[in-house]
C-alpha cells in the first residue's frame, strides 16, 4: 500500500486516493475535425509499461484534487508528484 504525498495535503495512505490512468493525454480541442482513428487514439489507447510511468491520481477521500504522479510500475517507487498543469519534474 503506497504512501502518497498529495501536493495539497501531504503524505497520506493510498486508500484515500483513486488512480485515474495515464497522465498528459490532452483532450483534443477540436474533436469533430479528427478522423475515427485519431479520435480512437485519444479515446482508447493507453500505455501500460513496466518502468517509469506518468499517472493521474485523485485524492478522492481527501481534498478531491487531481494531480500527477511519476511512478515506477516495476517497484512502485513514486519518483514525483506534481499539480495538474505543471510540467513533469523529471523526464
Amino acid at each position: 500500500m503506497f504512501l502518497i504525498n498529495c501536493p495539497y495535503c501531504g503524505e497520506r495512505d493510498q486508500s484515500e486516493f483513486s488512480a485515474g490512468g495515464e497522465a498528459h493525454i490532452v483532450r483534443p480541442k477540436q474533436p469533430t475535425e479528427l478522423s475515427d482513428d485519431q479520435w480512437a487514439e485519444y479515446l482508447f489507447m493507453r500505455k501500460n509499461i513496466k518502468g517509469v510511468q506518468f499517472e493521474r491520481w485523485n485524492h478522492a477521500h481527501g481534498c478531491r484534487k487531481w494531480f500527477n504522479m511519476v511512478r515506477d510500475t516495476s517497484n512502485d517507487k513514486i519518483h514525483a508528484v506534481y499539480k495538474m498543469g505543471e510540467n513533469p519534474p523529471i523526464k
Binding site: 500500500m1 503506497f2 483532450r27 474533436p31 469533430t32 479520435w39 479515446l43 487531481w66 512502485d76 495538474m84
Partner: protein, 1001 residues
C-alpha cells in the same frame, strides 16, 4: 499416564497452576505456560491427526508456526469453533476443548486409512486424472470427495467475539524478539527512535532463551543467562513498545505491515468474555528490521512421517522450555551440528539417547566433541532407511551411505526407539522479506535462500539472514543495525563469545533407501501427503516450472503453505531436472504468514457497521407507514407501502392508479443534487450535456443527458437555472458521487480556465414530489400565496417560495407524465413539509408511492432509467432520443463518438416498447428476445429491460433493447421462457398520453 514425562525443574512452566483441558473428548491436564502440543506430549499423546490423502497417523512434528500435522479444531460452540489451528501455537487455558481433524470416526480408528493401502493407486493429481470423465458426473464425485477430505469445520453461527483494528506509526519496527531482534530494538530505541518490537510468542528470547550449553557463552555466562539480563533491562528502555503474542501477517510495499495481536486466546474460558479477542495492527514503519530467525528442516527418507518423529530442535525446546520429554529412548538423525545440542540436553536431563545418525563422514566441532565426551553413540556416514510403528514410531533401520551418497551399503542395523529427532539443517524465514517484494539469492554452501535485494527501507538480521553461529549472529546484527540506523551503538562491541562452529556440511535432499523409490514413502509435504515420488512423477510427466509442479502435486499448498519442506521439494526438482537451485527459484510466499481469522480481517465492520446506510429525512414516516424498503446504493428508499395484507404487486397497482387518478406523493430526496455556480456555469453545462444550455432562462428547468467520452449514456437528470450564474443539477440516485467526480475531473484537468464551482448538496435538501391531476390543488393549500397558473408557473419552471417562513424551491417537473411538483427544502424541515403535503392531500386521497410505482409510471411514459434501460453500451440515438443531441454545439463530452463507424451502425441494439399478445402476461426483466423459434442455435436479438403490468392501461407493458429495433416496429417477436414461449409485438416506447396532455391537466 503412568510414565512421568515431566522433568522437575523448569523456569518457563508454572507447575503450581494445573490446567484441565479436553482433547478428542478426553479430559487431560497440563500446566500454565504449556502449549496444547507440549501438554499432549506430556500426556504421551503423539497421534493428533490423520494426513490429508492417505489418512496416515500423524503426530506433533514441530514447536512453532510451521507445524504441518498437529492441526486441530478448537472449541465446539457453533459460533466459536475454529478449524486449522496449530496445536504448537495454542497456549493452554482452562476449559480449552480441541479435537483432531480429517479423521472419522476417530483419530485412533480412521476409516479413510484404507487409502494408505491403496496409495500405489493414488499418485499425484489422482483426483484430477480420475474424476475428469464423464464431465456431468463431477457433481456426484465432488460430493464424496469433499466429504472425505476434511479440513476442519466452519462455525455455523455468527462469531460472538469482538475484533479490533488499529493504526500504528513508528520509526523502526523490529519483527522477531530473538537475540538479534532484541539487540536491534534496544539499539534503535536508545538512539531516540520510536521503536516497536513484536514477537508471536508470549515472551521474548527466541531459541537462545533456553540455550544452556558450555559451547555457547557470552562474557563467561551461558548465552541464555546473558540474554535474560538483556530482556530484563528492556523494560526501562524509553521509546520502545513491545508487543508479544503478535504475529506479523503481511508485509506490503512502502513498509505497510499487518500484524495480528492475540489478546484473549490464552485466557481461561471464563476470562475471555467481553474482551477484544484479536487486534489487527496496520503498521507504517519508516524502517523495518526483520529478525524472524530460521526454522529447522526435516530430512526426507522412507516413512519419515510417523508420530514420534519430531524436529530435533523441537525436542530440545519441549525439554528445556516446557520440561517435557518427547520420549524415553530417543534416536537422532541429522546432517548438521544442531542435533548434538539436543543430544546433550537430553543426556543432561537423564533421557537416554540411543544414538545420533549423521550422514556426514565425521566432524570435530566443539559441540560434537562434547557429545562424544558424554558417551553418545554416533553412526557416521549413515542414514535411516526405514522407520516402523503404525501409530507411534517403535524402531528405525540404519544403513551406511555409499561414498557418493546416492545409495546404501552394508548391513542394516535396527534400533528400538520411541521418538526420532530429525534435523536437516536450517531454513531462514525469508517469507516476510519476499512478501515485501525482496529478491533472494542462493547460498550453495549450506543450500539456503537469503535476502538479497529490496526496494524498501529494511534489513534482515540474524539467522533469517543466514547467520547461524552465535558469534556471527551477534556481531553481524550489531554492525548491520548500526549501519542501517546510521547510529553508533557500542554496547555490544566487546563481547567475549564462545560459539561452537559447524565445520563440515553435507546435504542430501532425498536420502537413499535399500528399497526402490517406488516402494518407499518419503514425505515432502506432510499436510498434503505429497512424497518425493510425486514430485518426480510430475517432472516425468513434463512439468517444468516450479509453480506448476507445486499445483500439480499440491506440495506446499496446505494451510502451512509448506513452510517445513518446500526447500526439499525445490532441491529434488533441481536435482532431477539437472538445474541449479538458485536458478530454479522459489514459489511465491504469499500473505498471511499464518492463517488469519476472518474476524481479525473485518474488525468492527460487522453487522450494522458493515456498510453505511443513508436514510432520507422522511425515513421515519415511511417506517411508521409500513413501507417496504429497497436498497439503492447506500440509500434506503421506500419501495412500496402495502396496506393490510397487500403483496407488492397489489400495492403497486393501487399506488399507480391513485397517482394518475388523483394524487401521489414520493420521497425524491435521494436524487443526487449538485450546486453549480460561477460565471462559466452555462458554458460548463453546454460541454457536459448533449443539449444546449446557454439560452435556458432563469427560473426554467431542462432535462439533460450526460454521455461518456465514448458516446454512451452515463447519467441523466433535470437541471434548473436558479440565477444568472447558478444552477442546481440533479442526477440519478446511484450516479450522484460518480457524476460529481467526473465533472470535477473535467473542471480540474481539461477545463481549468472555466470559472465554475461544484458542491454536492444531496444531503442538504429533502425533496417531496407530488403528482397527479390534483397536485396543483394540494400545493395551493401548502403554499397559498404562490401563483400556480400555467402562465406564471408552467411545466419545466421553478419558483422560490416560503412554507411557514422557511425558504424552499418548487420545481414543476415530472417523471411520471402527470402534472407534478417537487418541493426542495432544507433537510431538517423536509419531514414536516412531507406531512403537511400529506395532510393537505387527504381530501384527494393522496397516496404515498415508492420506487416501484415510480418505475411503473415512468415506463408507461417511456422514460428511461439510466442504469436499467441503459448499460454503458447505449447511445442517445440507440435510445431513440436523437432530439436531445444539439446539432449546433461545436463540442460536448462524447459528441465525436456519436459518429464513429461503430456508433452509426444501423443494427445496434435500440430501445423499443414491447406489448404481449396476451395483455395479462407480464414479461420477466432480462428475458431474451428472438425473431424465430425453430432455428438452432437460436439467435438472441435483444432483451427486456423494464416490464410492468399497467393498471392505467390495463395491460402488460415493457421496454426492451432489440437489434435494429427502430425498424422493427409492429413486428412480432418471441420471448422464450423455461416452460412457454411468449408472443410479443415491438411498439413505440411511449404507452400512455403520447401528446403529453396530462402534464397540464
Amino acid at each position: 499416564m503412568s510414565k512421568n514425562l515431566r522433568i522437575t525443574n523448569n523456569q518457563f512452566i508454572d507447575k503450581t497452576t494445573r490446567i484441565s483441558f479436553k482433547f478428542d473428548g478426553k479430559t487431560l491436564y497440563g500446566f500454565k505456560g504449556d502449549t496444547l502440543a507440549s501438554a499432549l506430549l506430556a500426556n504421551n499423546i503423539h497421534l493428533v491427526g490423520r494426513s490429508f490423502k492417505y489418512h496416515r497417523p500423524r503426530g506433533i512434528m514441530t514447536c512453532g508456526s510451521e507445524e504441518p500435522n498437529a492441526i486441530v479444531q478448537v472449541g465446539n460452540d457453533a459460533s466459536m469453533t475454529e478449524p486449522n489451528t496449530r496445536a504448537t501455537e495454542i497456549e493452554l487455558y482452562e476449559g480449552l476443548e480441541a479435537s483432531s481433524q480429517n479423521c472419522w470416526p476417530s483419530v485412533n480408528f480412521d476409516i479413510g486409512a484404507v487409502n494408505n493401502f491403496f496409495s500405489p493407486l493414488i499418485p499425484a493429481a489422482f483426483y484430477y486424472k480420475t474424476f475428469m470423465w464423464p464431465a456431468r458426473f463431477w457433481q456426484l464425485y465432488e460430493y464424496f470427495i469433499r466429504k472425505s477430505a476434511g479440513l476442519g469445520k466452519s462455525p455455523t453461527e455468527p462469531d460472538k467475539d469482538i475484533y479490533d483494528h488499529r493504526y500504528l506509526h513508528c520509526d523502526v519496527l523490529v519483527v522477531g524478539g530473538g537475540i538479534s531482534g532484541i539487540i536491534a530494538a534496544k539499539t534503535a530505541a536508545k538512539n531516540n527512535l520510536n521503536t516497536v518490537l513484536i514477537d508471536d510468542k508470549n515472551n521474548l528470547g527466541g531459541t537462545t532463551l533456553f540455550q544452556k550449553n558450555e559451547c555457547f557463552k557470552i562474557n563467561n555466562s551461558y548465552s541464555n543467562e546473558w540474554l535474560k539480563k538483556e530482556i530484563e533491562t528492556l523494560n526501562s528502555v524509553e521509546n520502545l513498545t513491545i508487543k508479544t503474542r503478535t504475529t506479523l501477517a503481511a508485509y506490503h510495499s512502502y513498509n505497510y505491515l499487518l500484524a495480528r495481536e492475540n489478546l484473549t486466546d490464552h485466557l481461561d474460558l471464563n476470562e475471555k468474555k467481553n474482551k477484544v479477542r484479536q487486534r489487527l495492527w496496520k503498521i507504517r514503519a519508516k524502517k523495518v528490521i526483520i529478525a524472524t530467525g530460521a526454522m529447522e528442516r526435516p530430512l526426507i527418507f522412507n516413512n519419515n512421517d510417523r508420530p514420534g518423529i519430531i524436529l530435533s530442535s523441537s525436542i530440545k525446546k519441549y525439554m528445556d522450555y516446557y520440561g517435557v520429554k518427547c520420549g524415553q529412548k530417543i534416536s537422532l538423525f541429522t546432517n548438521n551440528d544442531s542435533a548434538y545440542e539436543t543430544a546433550i540436553t537430553l543426556s543432561d536431563s537423564g533421557v537416554s539417547v540411543n544414538s545420533v545418525v549423521d550422514i556426514r563422514d565425521k566432524t570435530n566441532s566443539l559441540i560434537v566433541k562434547q557429545a562424544e565426551k558424554l558417551g553418545i553413540k554416533i553412526h557416521w556416514k549413515s542414514t535411516v532407511v526405514n522407520t516402523n510403528g503404525y501409530k507411534k514410531i517403535n524402531s528405525i533401520e540404519i544403513m551406511k551411505l555409499s561414498d557418493d551418497g546416492a545409495g546404501v551399503v552394508g548391513k542394516k542395523i535396527k534400533e528400538e526407539c520411541d521418538c526420532l529427532g530429525i534435523s536437516g539443517g536450517w531454513t531462514p524465514r525469508v517469507h516476510l522479506f519476499t512478501q515485501s517484494g525482496g529478491k533472494l539469492k542462493f547460498r550453495d554452501e549450506d543450500s539456503v535462500f537469503l535476502p538479497y535485494k529490496s526496494e524498501l527501507d529494511q534489513i534482515s538480521i540474524g539467522s533469517c539472514n543466514g547467520d547461524f553461529e552465535l558469534d556471527e549472529v551477534i556481531k553481524n546484527s550489531v554492525n548491520s543495525t548500526n549501519k542501517f540506523l546510521k547510529v553508533n551503538n557500542n554496547d555490544y562491541q566487546n563481547l567475549e563469545i564462545i560459539s561452537s562452529k559447524e565445520i563440515d556440511k553435507k546435504n542430501i535432499w532425498l536420502l537413499p533407501s535399500d528399497k526402490p523409490l517406488g516402494k518407499t514413502k518419503p514425505f515432502l509435504d506432510f499436510q498434503n501427503d505429497s512424497t518425493a515420488k510425486d514430485v518426480k512423477l510430475a517432472l516425468t510427466e513434463g512439468f517444468k516450472s516450479i509453480e506448476h509442479v507445486k499445483r500439480y502435486t499440491t506440495t506446499g499448498m496446505g494451510t502451512d503453505q509448506g513452510k517445513l519442506s518446500n526447500m526439499h521439494a525445490l532441491g529434488i526438482i533441481a536435482e532431477t531436472a539437472g538445474v541449479k537451485m538458485g536458478e530454479l527459484g522459489t514459489t511465491t510466499f504469499r500473505p498471511p504468514y499464518t492463517p488469519l481469522t476472518f474476524g481479525a480481517i473485518v474488525g468492527r465492520n460487522v453487522g450494522e457497521f458493515f456498510d453505511i446506510t443513508r436514510k432520507t429525512p422522511m425515513h421515519d414516516w415511511h417506517v411508521e407507514n409500513k413501507a417496504e424498503f429497497e436498497n439503492v446504493g447506500q440509500w434506503k428508499r421506500a419501495w412500496y407501502y402495502p396496506i393490510g395484507s397487500e403483496n407488492m404487486h397489489e400495492a403497486v397497482q393501487r399506488e399507480s392508479k391513485a397517482a394518475r387518478d388523483s394524487a401521489g406523493i414520493l420521497d425524491a430526496s435521494t436524487l443526487g443534487k449538485i450546486d453549480i455556480q460561477g460565471s462559466d456555469a452555462s458554458e460548463f453545462l453546454n460541454r457536459v450535456y448533449t443539449n444546449a444550455w446557454s439560452k435556458l432562462e432563469i427560473g426554467k428547468c431542462r432535462y439533460g443527458l450526460m454521455l461518456n467520452e465514448d458516446g454512451m449514456v452515463y447519467d441523466d437528470g433535470v437541471t434548473t437555472r436558479l440565477s444568472e450564474n447558478h444552477y442546481l443539477m440533479t442526477t440519478t440516485t446511484g450516479g450522484a458521487a460518480n457524476v460529481l467526480s467526473k465533472l470535477e475531473d473535467y473542471l480540474q484537468t481539461e477545463w481549468p480556465e472555466l470559472d465554475v464551482y461544484l458542491t454536492s448538496v444531496t444531503d442538504h435538501y429533502g425533496t417531496v414530489s407530488i403528482c397527479g391531476p390534483n397536485s396543483k390543488k394540494i400545493l395551493s393549500k401548502v403554499i397559498p400565496g404562490l401563483d400556480l397558473s400555467d402562465k406564471e408557473f408552467p411545466h419545466m419552471s421553478f419558483k422560490n417560495a416560503l412554507i411557514d417562513y422557511i425558504n424552499c424551491r418548487v420545481m414543476r417537473i415530472s417523471f411520471t407524465g402527470e402534472h407534478s411538483y417537487e418541493i426542495n427544502i432544507q433537510s431538517s424541515y423536509a419531514k414536516s413539509v412531507w406531512e403537511k403535503c400529506f395532510m393537505a392531500g387527504k381530501e384527494f386521497n393522496i397516496t404515498p408511492y415508492g420506487t416501484e410505482t415510480m418505475h411503473l409510471l415512468r415506463a408507461e411514459k417511456g422514460f428511461i432509467i439510466a442504469g436499467q434501460d441503459t448499460d454503458g453500451t447505449m447511445t442517445p440515438v440507440d435510445l431513440q432520443m436523437d432530439w436531445i443531441i444539439s446539432k449546433k454545439k461545436y463540442d460536448f463530452i462524447g459528441k465525436r463518438s456519436l459518429y464513429r463507424s461503430d456508433t452509426i451502425r444501423e443494427d445496434r441494439k435500440q430501445l423499443v416498447g414491447l406489448l404481449t399478445e396476451d395483455p395479462k402476461e407480464i414479461l420477466e426483466e432480462g428475458a431474451q428476445i428472438v425473431a424465430e423459434t425453430n432455428k438452432q442455435p437460436i439467435e438472441m436479438i435483444g432483451h427486456v429491460t423494464s416490464s410492468y403490468y399497467s393498471p392505467n392501461l390495463n395491460k402488460s407493458i415493457a421496454l426492451a433493447v432489440v437489434k435494429n429495433g427502430k425498424k422493427l416496429k409492429g413486428q412480432k417477436m418471441f420471448v422464450p421462457m423455461k416452460d412457454k414461449t411468449i408472443n410479443v409485438t415491438i411498439t413505440d416506447t411511449v404507452f400512455l398520453d403520447k401528446e403529453n396532455k396530462r402534464l397540464n391537466a
